[in-house]
Amino acid sequence: MKRQPIDTYVARLDAEVRTAVHDNSAAGTEKRHDVIWADYDDPDRLRRTAGAIKQHTLENLDTYLPEVEKRLQENGTHVHWASDGDTANQAVLDILGKAGLKKLVKAKSMVSEETGLGEFLGENGIECVETDLGEFIVQIDGDHPSHIVKPIIHKNRRQIATSFERAGLGDYNDDPEVITRRARVHMRRQYLEAGAGLTGANFLVAESGRIVVVTNEGNSRFCLAPSRVHIAMVGIEKIIPRERDLSLFLNLLGRSATGQRLTVYTEFISGPRGQGQPDGPEEMHVILLDNRRSEVLASNCREILRCIRCGACLNVCPVYRQASGHAYRSVYPGPVGAVLSPLLSGEFRERADLPKASSLCGACNEVCPVDIPIPDLLLRLRDRAKVEGIPSPGVPPMGAWAVLATQPLVWRSALVAGRMINIVPRSLIPVPAFQAWQGKKDLPTWRGGKFRSWMKQRRERKEKN
C-alpha cells in the first residue's frame, strides 16, 4: 500500500535523533510557557494584538512597501528588489563584485536558505561562511538545518565533535565548551578576513526604515563590525508598521523562541556606520525579496505570512516531535512549514502531503505569537489538493460515504446489519484498530443500532405514561 512520505520517514527515523528532537522541543515548549505566564496575566491578548498588527500590515503591503523603500533610502541604504531567489542571489553577487570582495560571513537567515545563496555563491567563486554555531556545523557537515531556530537539534555532541575533527578544527573533543571555544577562535579569522557580512532581518520598521536583527551569539554583530559592506536579505512580509510595535514583537519573540525575555543581542540598524565610528560597514544594502510571497498574499492562506519565525509551533507539535525537521523535505518544517513550504516552494503538488501530516490538534495556534490559525490553513490546503486532483496515499475517498450519510434509511439499516464501513468510514478507523478488526481483536464491539433502539423504547415508554 502506498504510504504518506512523512509517516514512512517516522517509521525509519533513528531512535536517538527522535529522542533528541522530542526532548529538546518539549524543553522549549516548557520554557516558553513558564516565562510567558510568569510575566503576563493574559498572554493571549498580546498574541492577538501582534497578530492583528501583522494582518493589518500584510493587507496594506501595497502602501507599506514604497514607504519602507523611501525611509531606507533616506537613511543612506541601497534598496534592491528581487522577485525571486535567483535574482536575490545575483544581487548579492553583484554587490560583492562591485566592492571587490570574495568572501562573505553570514549570520543566520532563513531566506538565504530559501534562495540557496550559499551554494550559488560557492559556484561563483565566493567563499560564504556560516557564522551561527549551529549553521556552521550544518555547513561543515553538508547537512540541512532541521529547525528554524535551533538548526542542529537533531545532532548530539559526539556527532559534532567528529565533524569538527574532520573539518580540521582539532582532535576529537566532545565537551560542548571546548566545541564552542574552537568555533569562537576559528570564526574570528573569518570575520576579519571577509569584508562583507550578510544578515536577514527579524523586523523591518516602515516608519523609520530600521531593520532589527536578534541573536544570542553575537555573530551578526561580528559579521558587521569588521566589514565594509552589509547586505540584508529581507522577505517583504517582515515589515511592521511603527517603532512602538517593537516592544510587543520583541517581548513575544524571545519568549516564544527560547523562553528568554530578550535575546542577548537586539540590533537596530538604520544605515551604514555612524560618523566617527571606525568600525562597521560603509555601505548597506537591503534586498527586498518576494519569492512567491505575493502569491501567498493573494491566496486564502495569507495569514501564514504573519510568521515571525520563532519556532514555537515546531516545539509544541506532536508530529514534529516524532518526525524531526528533515521529514518535511523543505526549508521550513513543522506546522508553519506545512503551510508555507508547499506555497513558497512553487512545487505544491510535490509538497501537498505536508498539510496532511497533522491531527489538527491546534497546539500550534495556541503558542503562535501572532495567532496564526494554522489548522484552518492546513485544512484549506487539503481542500486545494483535493480540488486540484492531487492523489493522496492513505486518505480514503469519501464521496460514496457522503452519499450514504445523507440517506437516513440506508444509514440506519447499515447500523443494524453491522455494515460498519458504511457508518464509520474507513478513514476514521485507526490502522492498529483496523488491522485488529481484521483479526477481530481490538475494535470495540459493534453496537450499531443499540442507542437508537434504546432512545425509541424510551420515547414509547414516556408516551405511554
Binding site: 494584538t49 492583528a52 535551533k150 564552542t180
Partner: protein
C-alpha cells in the same frame, strides 16, 4: 532590478485588490507589554537584579572593577580614550590599557571598556550605539566587555527605550554575555561575543 520593483508592487497590489476591506491598525497601549510596573522598586535595583539573572556583573566602584579584572586574570585591555585617565587613577597596579584597537592583535585584549548610551531597568539591558561606542570591536571582541553607564541614562522599561531610538544607525541592546545552546541544548557563554558582560556605574 527596477523591473523587479514594478513587478513586485504590481503583484502585491493585485493580491490585495479583491479584499472587501483592509484590516485597520489596532489601537493598543504599549503598557500592555511592560513587566516592570511596581512603582516602589528603584529602577537601578531592578536593573541590577535582571542583569544578574542573565549573568551580567555590576560594579559601582572603579577600583572594585579594577581589582576584579586583576584577580580574574584579565590584565591587558583597551579603553575609550575619553575614559582612560579617570579609570587609570582608580585602578590597581598591574592592569595595562591601550586606547587604540589593533585588529591584528585582536586576541591580545582581554577586556574592552566602552561607554553605554543607556540601559533598560525592566530587562537588565545595556544600550550601545555608534555615537557613544568609541570602537565597535572593543565592545564585541574581548572576553570581558565593560559598559560604562551614568545613572541618569537608565530608562525604566522597553517602550521607553524604544521611544529613545534616535537616528544613530547602529543601536544594540545587550542583555548579558553572548551565549549558545546549539550543542544539545546546553548553555555555553562566550561564543563570538564577550563571555563576561560588565556594567560599571558612574555618576
Amino acid at each position: 532590478m527596477s523591473g523587479d520593483r514594478e513587478e513586485i508592487l504590481k503583484r502585491v497590489g493585485e493580491a490585495l485588490a479583491p479584499l472587501p476591506e483592509r484590516s485597520p491598525y489596532p489601537h493598543y497601549d504599549t503598557d500592555l507589554t511592560v513587566t516592570f510596573k511596581d512603582g516602589s522598586v528603584d529602577p537601578w535595583v531592578r536593573f541590577k537584579s535582571m542583569f544578574a539573572a542573565v549573568n551580567g556583573r555590576v560594579f559601582e566602584s572603579v577600583s572594585e572593577l579594577g581589582h576584579w579584572l586583576l584577580e580574574s586574570g584579565h590584565t591587558h585591555g583597551c579603553c575609550d580614550p575619553d575614559l582612560v585617565d579617570r579609570l587609570r587613577t582608580a585602578f590597581p597596579e598591574g592592569l595595562a590599557m591601550e586606547t587604540g584597537f589593533d585588529r591584528a592583535r585582536i586576541d591580545d585584549y582581554a577586556f574592552g571598556i566602552t561607554r553605554a548610551r543607556g540601559a533598560i531597568a525592566e530587562s537588565g539591558t545595556l544600550v550601545l550605539d555608534d555615537r557613544t561606542t568609541w570602537q565597535r570591536l572593543a565592545a564585541l571582541a574581548p572576553w570581558v566587555h565593560v559598559a560604562v553607564l551614568s545613572r541618569s541614562d537608565l530608562w525604566r522599561d522597553i517602550p521607553t527605550a524604544v521611544d529613545n531610538l534616535d537616528d544613530d544607525p547602529n543601536v544594540i541592546w545587550v542583555t548579558g554575555p553572548s551565549k549558545t545552546a546549539d550543542v544539545e541544548g546546553i548553555l555555553i557563554e562566550g561564543v563570538h561575543g564577550p563571555g563576561e558582560q560588565v556594567c560599571l556605574l558612574i555618576d
